[in-house]
């Protein structure tokens, strides 16, 4: 009798243990780290060499949907779902080994661009079906993905920037062709405001670049950095020669030079556009000009990326982001009053090129937001056109 009872107790304990052990595994999906799902999607997504250009043409609205595209989207439904699940997760850690300095190995972010085209095409298909809420929802998911991609290395920032920029174009098209539905537009405005709580920023990339440079400016690492970072030629040859005969003082002085240089770079990114533009051009040229006479500039030449180009991308993206947010307010006014406003509503986002509001003008089929970029030697006007569905 006792044996039977103890057997029952043992069985009960065993059952409880099984439940306890299995319960975390039941709730293991989605994981806490979005990168796990991105890696999975990148691995499983077959690069669409045969249909790739067609996907890009489709989301851009250059071509209409066809059987091939529909079949492709259907086939990759699970990839889309995996990525959408990933975008809903806050935490994203790509597991990069930052102790490697500038030689850190980056994730296969080229796949992110393919995945973007897949999601954008799916969004386009939702729009074609008249479900603009879902289509815009996909765009918000892509914005989240771009934020996840923006790890500390500059390249990750640039990949995310390219995806953000393309998504802006996607949203502009949807806004231009959809009916002005106040609920959808309010929802979109709130979603964009939510995203802005964690703005897409170049700052982490700038901070990390400084750290990475310092890590790489050591006798063990610098040879590889110079070999990978510089094109073959007299500069590389001379840099390698200097490294071969370098002592501790050489590295200390080079790190000091790099730190001063990065102070200037970070400060330049905060300046108004015209000053930042010319300052970064000067900073791009400075190490190369000083390289011949000043050995302290040697390692900065190898580590510095083209800052002005990065800055131009950064401001262009910010201008487009602000234009879209301003446009949503204009569409909301149209949805509420039935007509476009005479001027821009108060408190809208400004044009980062000038720091002032965009110039607003009605056009035959919608409205336009204009800005102007003043560089050292030229003034470029840029404008964002939005159509209004009648």
């Amino acid at each position: 009798m006792k044996t039977i009872r103890s057997k029952k107790i043992t069985m009960a304990i065993f059952a409880v243990l099984v439940l306890l052990v299995s319960s975390p595994s039941l709730s293991a999906y989605p994981p806490e780290n979005a990168a796990v799902l991105y890696y999975k999607a990148f691995m499983l997504y077959e690069s669409p060499d045969n249909i790739g250009p067609m996907l890009w043409d489709y989301w851009k609205g250059n071509i209409k949907s066809n059987e091939k595209i529909e079949e492709f989207l259907k086939k990759n439904r699970r990839i889309i779902d995996i990525v959408l699940d990933a975008t809903r997760i806050d935490h994203c850690d790509w597991g990069l080994d930052y102790s490697q300095g500038t030689e850190v190995l980056l994730p296969p972010h080229h796949k992110a661009r393919d995945i973007f085209a897949l999601l954008a095409a799916e969004a386009r298909m939702q729009a074609d079906r008249g479900d603009y809420r879902k289509a815009l929802g996909r765009c918000i998911s892509i914005y989240r993905m771009a934020r996840h991609l923006n790890e500390r290395p500059i390249i990750c920032y640039l990949v995310g920037t390219a995806i953000n920029d393309a998504t802006h174009n996607c949203i502009t098209r949807f806004l231009s062709e959809m009916p002005q539905d106040i609920d959808t537009l309010t929802w979109l405005r709130d979603e964009l405001a939510e995203l802005d709580k964690k703005p897409y920023s170049v700052k982490p990339a700038l901070r990390w670049k400084r750290e990475a440079g310092i890590i790489s400016m050591s006798p063990e690492r610098i040879g590889g950095v110079v070999k990978s970072g510089l094109d073959d030629g007299p500069t590389k040859k001379k840099a390698l020669e200097r490294i071969r005969t370098a002592n501790q003082q050489f590295f200390a002085k080079n790190i000091a030079y790099w730190n001063d240089y990065m102070d200037s770079v970070e400060a330049a990114f905060d300046l108004p556009y015209p000053q930042a533009y010319s300052m970064l051009q000067w900073l791009d040229e400075k190490p190369s000009k000083e390289f011949g006479e000043n050995p302290d500039a040697t390692l900065t030449v190898a580590c510095a990326p083209p800052w002005q180009r990065i800055y131009v991308q950064h401001v262009r993206l910010e201008a487009k982001s602000n234009a879209i947010r301003t446009a949503v307010d204009v569409y909301l006014t149209k949805a509420a009053t039935g007509r476009l406003p005479k001027s821009l509503p108060a408190g809208v986002a400004s044009d980062p090129y000038t720091g002032k509001s965009f110039q607003y003008a009605k056009t035959a089929d919608g409205f336009v937001l204009r800005g102007q970029a003043k560089n050292i030697d030229k003034v470029t006007f840029h404008q964002y056109e939005f159509k209004v569905k009648k």
Binding site: L105, I154, S228
Partner: protein, 162 residues
């Protein structure tokens, strides 16, 4: 001493076994043995050199290999001149990365260099090149395949090939 003697003895033995005397050509004997061939040679000599010997230049020019080589030289020359006639084209930086190992190609510094050369497209291209050697993923892996691997029979396993 012994060694020299042994070598001499060895030479003698070889000479006895095989005929090591150099063959000599006796023209008179040959004329008597092959009179028709001799006459034929004489008549060719009378017709002249151009008939007797094939023209080497012509043979070279007629060879298909020579034609291919000539075509290659012309193509190279044309491409060389067309590149050097357009200075703008000449100044354009090469986008193709001098390849290293895939690991070296996906470091931050290496991709920054690609960006400097050709923007985000060059970064994408370099990433694709780096990840290409990884190749296709196994479509599926069955329990039988895994067991076969454990048992040392890797023939049917795709994973073994990867």
């Amino acid at each position: 001493m012994n060694k020299q003697r042994n070598e001499k003895r060895l030479d003698e033995l070889i000479s006895q076994t095989i005929n090591t005397v150099k063959p000599r050509f006796d023209a008179e004997k040959w004329k008597q043995k092959y009179p028709d061939e001799f006459q034929s040679l004489l008549s060719r000599a009378a017709k002249g050199d151009s008939v007797r010997r094939p023209n080497i230049l012509k043979v070279i020019l007629k060879s298909p290999l020579t034609k291919i080589a000539a075509a290659a030289v012309i193509i190279l020359a044309v491409s060389f001149f067309s590149t050097h006639q357009d200075p703008g084209e000449q100044e354009r930086p090469k986008i193709v990365e001098v390849t290293k190992s895939p690991v070296e190609m996906v470091t931050a510094i290496s991709l920054e260099r690609a960006f400097r050369r050709g923007g985000i497209e060059a970064v994408e291209k370099q990433c694709k090149q780096a990840f290409k050697p990884i190749g296709p993923q196994p479509r599926s892996l069955s329990v039988e395949q895994i067991l076969a691997e454990f048992n040392g029979d890797g023939k049917s396993s795709e994973r073994t090939r990867l």
